[in-house]
Symmetry: C2
Subunit: 200 residues, 2 copies
């Protein structure tokens, strides 16, 4: 399918975004044309507004504060000796919504397909280690590696555990089990096995 | 999941786009933040460039010409007495790519769930009828209703056929049949039945 010249650039940009394929990119571009100038300006302005968003220098979550730390890292009531490592900002948001976690985070970025930590992820772990050295006198109480449970993420979790070995008392993972309101009958072996091991 | 204040507006706009849900909208917004200012400016500029795109006053496809007609409607070598009615611009592009159609188009817009033509679709048909009256002395040779074959689109095709009755010699639809390289064994009854009827 040839793309009309005038929208080619936008289509290429849209198609480079995660979860948007080339066909959807073309349809989105046509949709934006039909929406007209008012809507297009709204979109431009709201993208421009992103410039006020900053990345927290400590946990790499997003914030708009004057200093370099996000609201969570700035919050003195939180127990910073417990650190949850998440892949994505949305995972952090989901965990925050439970109200069950009062530690700090590290947003590591999405795990690659290769089952290995990427260069920028290694840098983030390194910055965590130096933070633990400086702020927790070299030892955190717990690191919760909160990844989607897959064989691949297990592998990376092990790498992280090894990496942090001398900086933390224990490395834990999210509990595997039957989802609330889920049915035992439909759970796979891995899930049900996890639920039995994590019973209590 | 609460959305951080600063990206709320962009998330709302993204989530209003076709095929993008609220969760993907949040993930896209975070992605755009991470991409940084250069990428954000690219996106803004390419959205701004859409302003030069115009909608053809005759077929409602997109163009960037000085007058009000798209390249296809401007092309004198095409047989305008045959009109293909398509839902989406991308359907037009797909048909153009086959090189098998040398008529003109009418981009009707996506069919609603209700199985009825919407107000702006009726206006487009009305403009087609007055164009036929003026440019073809009141009668087109053929209207090809090129919708995805579904029971619902059949219903709307019938409405269109009735609407255009006195303006066109015949109303046709795309042939239903086995996709090229497809297998008879896996075709549903509707498809295989269409292939038998359309044999030749």
């Amino acid at each position: 399918m040839r793309t009309p010249k005038g929208i080619k650039r936008l289509v290429d940009i849209l198609a480079s975004l995660p979860g948007i394929g080339p066909r959807q990119a073309i349809r989105l571009a046509f949709h934006l044309i039909r929406q007209g100038e008012g809507f297009q300006r709204e979109l431009e302005d709201s993208v421009r507004d992103l410039r006020s968003a900053k990345i927290c220098s400590q946990c790499f979550y997003v914030h708009e504060n004057k200093d370099s730390l996000c609201d969570i890292c700035n919050d003195d009531t939180r127990d910073k000796s417990i650190i949850a490592i998440v892949e994505k900002e949305t995972d952090l948001m989901s965990i925050e919504n439970t109200g069950k976690f009062r530690g700090r985070y590290l947003v590591l970025g999405e795990l690659g397909r290769g089952g290995m930590l990427e260069a920028d992820q290694k840098l983030k772990l390194k910055s965590l280690k130096s933070w633990i050295s400086k702020s927790l006198s070299g030892r955190a109480r717990e690191v919760v590696v909160a990844f989607n449970p897959t064989p691949q993420s297990d592998f990376i979790t092990n790498q992280i555990a090894k990496e942090l070995e001398s900086f933390v008392d224990k490395v834990t993972r999210l509990g595997i089990g039957i989802p609330s309101s889920g049915e035992i009958e439909f759970a796979d072996d891995e899930t049900l096995g996890g639920a039995i091991e994590g019973r209590g």
